[in-house]
Chain length 99, copies 2
């Protein structure tokens, strides 16, 4: 399994602008082959900071997602409103422990 974690940051006043576009991307991505989990959450302490958590079946599935039309559209929206920060990293998972 591939785990993706990270964040993007938008101006807090843009959260309601991005929310419907995020919804479109989230819903389309969740229908992708190999997508196990794909979610965005607004940081509890830091408005405008969107935490990212994803689980994918394989590197190939994640790569296909990166080439999808909906992720391209989402990227355009973020570019249009001004993305303030971004750090997104994928890791291949080995040992698993349920907490």
């Amino acid at each position: 399994m591939i785990i993706v974690t990270g964040h993007i940051r938008v101006a807090p006043e843009n959260m309601e602008v991005v929310r419907p576009h995020a919804k479109t991307n989230l819903e389309a991505t969740r229908r992708e082959k190999g997508c196990i989990l794909y979610a965005y959450g607004e940081d509890l302490l830091d408005p405008g900071l969107i935490r990212i958590v994803e689980r994918w079946e394989s590197w190939d599935a994640l790569a296909a997602h990166g080439k999808s039309d909906h992720i391209a559209a989402w990227g355009k929206v973020l570019k249009g409103i001004g993305l303030l920060d971004r750090e997104v990293t994928a890791h291949e998972a080995s040992e698993e422990r349920v907490l």
Copy 2:
């Protein structure tokens, strides 16, 4: 590195009740040895669903966190208000790709 992902769910009307307690736990945890990232985000589409993303230097650091006083206090708060769902899983990371 150890990556923790998952979620907890509280009733949406309890978000403002849990927020200050989450802040206390987040701030104390971020000061722990071996904590690289520790964040909670409220799902953009699903109020009350708190997404969890953590990065730790080692299994030992994560285990020490699990025995901390602040995580015990946080657990009591969640038990007190009624935790509706919980799934939290740790994975040891092997290959890394920055996206």
